[in-house]
């Protein structure tokens, strides 16, 4: 029965892939015949985003349920799961990310279902793209080999490039172009690093590379240390592009702003989480040896500097934005900084990885909620973009304003929300790793962050819309509402009882990163 258990081990991926194929067929076959005016791809609305949104959410949640059942059964107990290693590692880590990415992707799909129709964007290929990108993200989280790493990374990225450029207007295409060029460049860096690693160690699997790296400096070792360092730098730089860490963050605000909001959400949530997953796998699977992973040498000091720079730059620039979407983009840069802090702490503290996982989880639900609320603050055909657009929302749309406040408070890291415990875990890990200065810098940064999140509250509750602003009928959408409700529930639940998943996070975080 190994065959079945192998299938079960990859069932989340299989479900999502099959769902994506079916959805593609449904989307292509179910649409009206091409218009006769010669347009190759019609822009005439069919208004089916709602159905497709629900469909892809169902597919992704089903994938999440399979990942969850895989978690319940325990991947380590499955015969046949080993056979997939190193190409796809079935362990608690990948199952955890499976659940998380399916959750993030599914909620983004719901947002898409509400958003696209409302704004008259008839580009239903959004949903197949979303599914394939999620598949890539899930495969990335389980990748234990440079080959699958690269293929999964590109699967995810290519889908997202197209999602960003979904709207055929100048800004969207510009965003897509920037994201594509820099993303492609980053992918090439990663790939060349991978090629050099292969040359230096003769392995493409992370465990093998890790073992070879461990022999550096020992008699008889043929592994060239310099080459390994160069390769490591290239691979990690490429991944840092995807998590939007300073100084590889330049694309983020433009891409986030130009993309349709559900795509922005997906980028902020799934892409970033998957990139962190593979960053953890690479750093602790292949480069965990103390020659490259101690405070004196190797990646930790560099990443520590980048983490501090990332959160500081993100927070400082976010405070100066006039567009809420751009502010959220910079804030997501800052959040990458906090999570990187956890990654650095994981070098010396056993709870570092778990803290990163919990941070990402809290960040996922808060971010999805915030973007969802932002969608609902807009009106037909006109997104809420600037702070001014949010003026008076507290009165016009009290429930949405309340939910938005909750998510922002969570992102700011104020107690009794999931975001607070996310930050708490990361800072505790930093203290555990005796990186006191980093912990204090992180705390001060969370204070900086409060300013601009608060500004949204100020506009929502304390400013009146300018008298000549169009009378806005607030948008209503069941799908977006559901997504927000789910996110709000999780934010509050994990904010009050964070340890309800504490053991799970720890188990996921303590799995060996490569085999």
């Amino acid at each position: 029965m190994t065959w079945w258990s192998t299938l079960f081990a990859v069932s989340p991926l299989v479900v999502v892939a099959l769902g994506a194929l079916l959805l593609m067929l449904a989307e292509a076959l179910g649409r009206p015949a091409p218009a006769a005016d010669g347009a190759v791809v019609t822009d005439v609305g069919s208004g089916r985003a709602g159905e497709l949104g629900i469909g892809s959410a169902v597919v992704l949640f089903a994938g999440g349920v399979f990942a969850l059942s895989l978690w319940m059964v325990g991947p380590e107990a499955l015969p046949g799961a080993e056979g997939l290693a190193p190409y796809f590692i079935v362990d608690r880590f990948s199952a955890f990310f499976g659940v998380m990415l399916c959750l993030g992707g599914g909620l983004s799909a719901l947002l898409g279902g509400g958003y696209l129709d409302e704004h008259g964007i008839d580009r239903s290929e959004f949903f197949p793209l979303l599914l394939w990108a999620t598949l890539g993200a899930m495969a990335l989280a389980g990748a234990g080999d440079l080959l699958t790493l690269f293929v999964a990374l590109e699967t995810m990225s290519i889908g997202v490039y197209a999602m960003v450029g979904l709207r055929r207007n100048g800004r969207a295409i510009e965003a897509a172009l920037k994201y594509f060029l820099l993303g492609g460049f980053a992918g090439a860096l990663t790939l060349f690093g991978a090629a050099l690693l292969y040359g230096a160690t003769g392995h493409t699997d992370l465990a093998g590379i890790g073992a070879s790296v461990g022999t550096i400096g020992q008699p008889g070792s043929t592994v060239p240390a310099g080459l390994v360092l160069v390769a490591m730098a290239l691979v990690v730089s490429g991944l840092l592009f995807k998590v939007a860490a300073v100084p590889f963050h330049m694309w983020t605000p433009d891409a986030y702003e130009g993309a349709p909001t559900p795509a922005t959400t997906f980028m902020a949530v799934a892409v970033k989480c998957a990139a962190f997953a593979i960053l953890l796998r690479v750093l602790f699977g292949a480069f965990a040896d103390e020659r490259v992973a101690s405070w004196g040498t190797g990646w930790p000091p560099v990443l520590a500097v980048l983490a501090v720079a990332t959160m500081t730059v993100g927070n400082l620039i976010a405070g100066r934005q006039e567009s809420v979407k751009r502010m959220l983009a910079y804030s997501s840069i800052a959040h990458a900084g906090y999570a990187l802090l956890g990654v650095v702490a994981a070098m010396r503290s056993g709870m570092g990885q778990a803290s990163v996982l919990f941070y990402l989880l809290a960040y996922t639900v808060s971010t999805v909620g915030a973007f969802g609320a932002l969608i609902l603050c807009g009106r037909r055909g006109a997104e809420a973009v600037s702070y001014e657009d949010l003026a008076g929302i507290g009165r016009r749309h009290p429930v949405v304003a309340l939910a938005f406040s909750l998510f922002l408070v969570s992102l700011a890291g104020i107690p009794a929300t999931a975001g607070f415990f996310g930050k708490l875990g990361v800072f505790l890990a930093a203290i555990d790793a005796e990186l006191y200065v980093l912990a204090v810098v992180g705390l001060l940064n969370s204070f900086l962050g409060a300013y601009y999140y608060l500004r949204v509250l100020v506009y929502m509750y304390m400013r009146e819309p300018s008298p000549n602003a169009p009378r806005a009928v607030p948008m209503r959408s069941g799908q977006v509402g559901v997504a927000i409700a789910v996110a709000a529930l999780l934010v509050v639940w994990w904010g009050l009882f964070p340890l309800s998943i504490g053991a799970d996070v720890t188990a996921a975080g303590s799995a060996p990163m490569a085999r």
Partner: protein, 620 residues
């Protein structure tokens, strides 16, 4: 005699007080009469009922008659009420107001129960529930003789503030009710929390409603003011959180399991440098709230821009969180470092708090700003008493906190009254008001006298005790006497600026035509002010009612303070922290017990220590 008859005989002082109160105000309506009469009754009830008959200093571990859920009820009644208010219709502001006031009044009545038990050494009405066991976070609340008074101050002033707000604020009633109730719950929670995490949660939680109150219903510059308020406090509390996490970490290192419990963490003796850093992290958070120079700049803006009700709560309760926090956490947990820094900080409190505050207040043209700066000066007294670290100083300080809540709260209310009528707060706009608004003038003068500290009023007792406490202080070193004298100078300055403003506003010719027809206090305003006036005299004439109840707690606190100073002076600058011995007796109650031995974590590899996030199983 029938039971009814004997009851009536027994009740004669109350009946008499009521009747006197009813007949004393001449030419007034029934509402004013009722207000005065009730206040008089209340005053007698306070004096008779609270007179400490039995020596309160006894030690008792078992405290029968203490309902364990009292504090839960106290804290969560407003919070649940706030959530409940969300479901009431926005179109019925009267219902919203009535429900809010009923909840706040109920909370006040519940809090009176706290007075019904003797405040012996130790913790009372203690309630402990596990919340997040793996981090050692518990829901742990209790009061002692110190927090008792601050809780009562909160439950008394918030309804008054709400009542006043409902008179002047007519828009967004629902949000107002929500914010006030949430604020009340958070403030009470912060006063009774004995778990640092719980305290931090409440401490942060109360920022949001206050931010909203200032930002939504405030004056012209309200948004700037609300930002300032939020960010100043947040900056302080971030450092505090860092220190809390560090403490928990040290505790885990030493004892083997994490805890956020105040009683456990206060036994830590850190190496001197770490202790000083942690002390300043905490102290900064609290000094922002107090506020102490140079962290005070948010206060005048916040006060000036806040609506009257917000100002009252801000002055009466929020500032007390700073002094209370210093007393409870800085002195309680870092006694050594606090002792060491006491002299310097006392200098700052006098020079830049009391004297500077008074001088700046003197120069203000805006009455509200003047009262705000007088707050800086008064809170300087409260802090000075704490820095002195003597029994008289600390008791005087706690009393000053209560006094300041009453008199400054009342002054803000009075300023709000005149602002509602004239829409200006410039002193030069007024003059000779005593002729048109006699009741208003009377109460204003009473509150002014209380604020200055004239004998017979509450302010006198508090400030006198602080000054004597400073005079005899050991920890302030050679400058104690000079500092006491300088502080006394502050009292004189207070008299100068307060009396000058009273003189300019109320006496002299009635020059401004706009003031000719100002109506005197409305029944609503009289009812709101009456309890405060009563308290001014009750505290001023019978301070023992209050001091007797806080004395055991203050004694215990100072004992700890001294021990912790001794332990501190034996610690090296750097090195290993250690735990002090657990104190015996009732103050010991509520310690977390050590957890059962923990199983080897799953997935631990041989030879590599796997630390991890704690899980549900690691319940201490």
């Amino acid at each position: 005699m029938t039971p009814l008859g004997s009851a009536l005989v027994g009740l004669w002082p109350y009946v008499a007080a009521f009747l006197v109160g009813w007949f004393v105000p001449r030419r007034q309506g029934w509402a004013e009469r009722l207000g005065v009469a009730t206040s008089a009754l209340l005053g007698v009830v306070l004096i008779v009922g609270l007179w400490p008959v039995a020596p309160a200093a006894g030690v008792g571990d078992d405290k029968p008659g203490e309902w364990p859920h009292l504090l839960n009820l106290l804290v969560f009644l407003p919070i649940v009420g706030a959530l409940g208010v969300l479901f009431l219709p926005r179109q019925a502001p009267k219902v919203l107001r009535a429900v809010t006031l009923a909840i706040l009044a109920g909370d006040f009545v519940v809090s009176l129960w706290l007075l019904g038990v003797p405040m012996t050494t130790g913790w009372h009405f203690q309630y402990i529930a596990t919340w997040i066991p793996a981090f050692g976070i518990r829901y742990h609340v209790a009061v002692d003789g110190i927090s008792l008074w601050l809780v009562l101050l909160t439950t008394l002033t918030t309804p008054i503030a709400a009542y006043v707000s409902f008179g002047s604020i007519r828009r967004r009633t629902k949000e107002l009710c929500f914010a006030i109730l949430l604020l009340q719950g958070a403030m009470l929670g912060a006063f009774v929390a004995l778990d640092l995490f719980l305290f931090y949660v409440f401490w942060e939680l109360l920022l949001v409603p206050m931010f909203i109150i200032i930002g939504v219903w405030g004056g012209v510059e309200r948004i700037k003011a609300s930002y300032k308020f939020f960010l100043y406090t947040m900056a302080g509390s971030v450092l505090m959180l860092a220190a809390i996490l560090y403490l928990v970490w040290v505790h885990t290192d030493l004892v083997g399991y994490p805890t956020f419990d105040y009683l456990a963490l206060s036994r830590l003796s850190l190496p001197r440098v770490a202790a000083a850093l942690c002390f300043y992290a905490f102290a900064l958070a609290f000094m922002v709230k107090v506020p102490m120079f140079p962290l005070h700049t948010w206060l005048p803006d916040a006060h000036v821009e806040a609506p009257t009700g917000g100002s009252i709560i801000l002055a009466a309760v929020l500032l007390k969180l700073g002094t209370y926090g210093y007393l409870r956490f800085c002195m309680g947990m870092f006694g050594g470092a606090a002792w060491q820094s006491g002299a310097t900080l006392a200098g700052i409190a006098i020079g830049l708090g009391i004297l500077y505050g008074a001088l700046v207040a003197w120069k203000q043209a805006d009455i509200k700003r003047l009262v705000a700066y007088s707050s800086v000066a008064h809170m300087g007294f409260a802090m000075l008493g704490l820095f002195a670290g003597t029994r008289a100083g600390v008791e005087g300080s706690v009393l000053t906190m209560v006094n300041h809540g009453i008199s400054t709260g009342a002054l803000f209310l009075l300023v709000g009254v005149i602002y509602d009528r004239r829409h200006t707060r410039e002193v030069r706009e007024f003059g000779g008001l005593a002729k048109v608004m006699p009741v208003y003038a009377t109460i204003f003068v009473i509150m002014t006298l209380s604020s200055i500290g004239v004998p017979g009023t509450n302010g006198f007792v508090g400030e006198l005790m602080v000054i004597t406490g400073t005079y005899v202080s050991q920890s302030l070193g050679g400058f104690a006497k000079v500092q006491a004298v300088l502080a006394a100078l502050g009292v004189i300055l207070a008299a100068v600026y307060m009396l000058s403003v009273v003189e300019r506003m109320f006496f002299g010719p009635l020059t401004n035509r706009a003031n000719r027809r100002l109506p005197d206090l409305s029944p609503r305003e009289v009812i709101a002010l009456a309890p405060l006036v009563v308290l001014v005299f009750v505290i001023g004439l019978f301070p023992n009612i209050f001091i007797a109840r806080m004395r055991p707690s203050v004694n215990a606190l100072l004992e700890d303070y001294e021990q912790s100073w001794k332990a501190h002076s034996e610690m090296p600058d750097h090195g290993q922290a250690r735990m002090r011995a657990q104190p015996e007796g009732p103050r010991r109650k509520g310690y977390p017990e050590p957890p059962p031995p923990r199983a080897e974590p799953p997935g631990a590899e041989a030879g590599r220590e796997v630390a991890r996030l704690p899980t549900e199983e690691d319940v201490p």
